[in-house]
Symmetry: C2
């Protein structure tokens, strides 16, 4: 009785099954069980099987912090959020976290989250988490162009994975969405509608994605035989307000663009605002394409045509990549990209001759 097979034991450690329990049950020593569990070659295959089966049966799982004391690794992934970041990524955070913790838990890892409000504090967080063995490696959200986190962790030989790519790939692993492909596709989409003057509002230049997306836009324009006008390109727009401001500038060009591609949905919504203020009808007088797939875009009038990014999947992939990295796979084997999904909604249409 009392056994409470799956209860949240009141009496703490009372009923944890330890490695010794398993060893006793098999008439082996704990050293043998340990080596069997960890796949050491000097254990007979039959024994290894017996041990693993029994462990399964007894529901034994080694205590991560007990192994950590010897191995130094505690089966947890570190994530340091940088808050001074404008709010752009906040809507993604929940899904991203869900993905990370899902990917982590599949392999028996957990996720440790810290936050910091400056580059300096991010570094300090890394150090503290490592020092205390609270993280075996790190996920770096929002890869930056000259990322100080990368420099640090690479030099220190600490495993990490980036959400986003890196110019100098040495020692870097990553998962990323091919934003450049999306921008190129956006151009094609608009060109197919007969747009000629297509503007581009890019995101924060400190982020690695900006360079890629700009290139995608340029490639698209070139491959469609469209000429690129420098006055139709604005860089470094982060917020909705930035987007509105940039849109005004673009709409003041002469001739103005008939379509604007935005590196982020936030910015695209800013374009909505600016255009609406000028009495331009989105999707008719002005076509807009965004990127990210944030919810506000779906609710805008008309719904924003955009490329949606699955941040949950990104989290899952990043977690599994990091775990493989921690387990010793070389970083160059651990690089993945995926495509964004085009959502053709209401904010594009053929250009209006006026």
């Amino acid at each position: 009785m009392t056994a409470g097979t799956t209860q949240l034991h009141k009496d703490r450690t009372a009923m944890r099954v330890t490695i010794s329990d398993v060893a006793d049950a098999l008439n082996l020593t704990k050293s043998t069980v340990s080596r069997a569990m960890n796949g050491y070659p000097d254990i007979a295959e039959a024994t290894q099987l017996r041990v693993k089966r029994m462990a399964q049966e007894m529901n034994y799982q080694p205590l991560s912090h007990a192994q950590a004391i010897k191995t130094g690794r505690t089966r947890s992934l570190g994530l340091v959020l940088q808050l001074s970041d404008h709010d752009a990524h906040r809507p993604f955070l929940a899904e991203f976290l869900a993905g990370l913790s899902e990917g982590a838990s599949i392999e028996g890892y957990t996720l440790t989250v810290a936050s910091a409000d400056s580059d300096q504090h991010v570094i300090e967080s890394f150090r503290a988490l490592l020092r205390d063995g609270k993280a075996d490696g790190f996920i770096l959200p929002r890869a930056m162009v000259d990322d100080p986190r990368v420099k640090l962790l690479r030099d220190a030989d600490v495993p990490f994975v980036l959400f986003g790519r890196q110019q100098n790939p040495e020692g870097c692993s990553w998962f990323d969405i091919r934003g450049e492909d999306a921008m190129r596709d956006a151009v094609h989409h608009l060109a197919a509608l007969d747009h000629q003057r297509i503007g581009f509002i890019n995101g924060g230049t400190r982020y690695a994605y900006a360079g890629l997306r700009l290139q995608g836009y340029l490639d698209g324009m070139a491959s469609d035989g469209l000429s690129v006008a420098s006055e139709l390109i604005v860089e470094d727009a982060l917020t909705m307000a930035d987007g509105a401001c940039a849109a005004k500038k673009l709409l003041d060009a002469k001739p103005p663009p008939t379509a604007i591609i935005c590196a982020t949905d936030q910015v695209a919504l800013g374009v909505y605002r600016a255009a609406t203020e000028r009495g331009q009808a989105i999707g008719r007088n002005l076509s807009v394409v965004g990127y990210d797939g944030i919810q506000e875009g779906a609710q805008a009038q008309p719904a924003l045509t955009t490329f949606s990014v699955d941040n949950r999947v990104a989290g899952v992939r990043l977690a599994t990549l990091l775990i493989r990295r921690i387990r010793g796979e070389p970083s160059e084997n651990l690089r993945e990209t995926a495509a964004a999904v085009f959502l053709d909604r209401g904010s594009t249409g053929p250009p209006m001759g006026e």
Copy 2:
């Protein structure tokens, strides 16, 4: 040389200062150092001081997972996010996390985050985190009316704190914003503008806050001598769409309300949409008051009058309360509430006689 005082050690454990190092430096045994650090009474006060000073000087900090193996506690706070939750709380998440990890790190704790997509999985996450010593206690965001998490953790005698209050307070600690006061103040604000027919759209009834806010609304109406019309109250609106739907229902009442108080900003923005579709001008034909202080409210036209909640502070408070709870303080000493801050913006005005 090479010492690399504060480097992110490449060579792993190589240079960690252990309890034995401190003991050697003082010509004491590690048992003495341990007891001194933990304030055992059988250590001379002078010795305790010497030890602590030396520890400070040598930058010694016990390895949490080394102590955990004996004590069972690992100095980390658990947070299990429930994703099936509609997206309402997502914008808050970043600030909330920042607050939590800030409050945690002040006391040398870290934050472990997991996620789940059902009540059942939440429970399993709790269990897994406890089992592996990944959490000494839990923060429970979004207190629910009959919260299964509370039942479980209370019975299991695991420390936890709620963001939100609980009807049956036994064993519960919490931090909460007094939404009922806000709703009451909203009524007063509108009554002072001469509104008589004031509608109320409440949030999800499964959440603990809904009951409180409704009561606040009712109290406010009563204390201002206004009569409450049941057709002007809608419960259980979670999303913007719900808000729009509820608003339509209210506006169909005869006579319709001249003002609507919403338990959340999300819902208030839904009211915006519904009202605008009917050609009602917010702030003129219809006054609206929200609650939460989300960013979209500030950008709406006109800016939404609301009560802003500081989720970062909430996180800090919750973390420190939980740590005190873990350290043994009785739960009834660990209950705090704070006021929301009224943001008088553009969405309210005197009722228009028509």
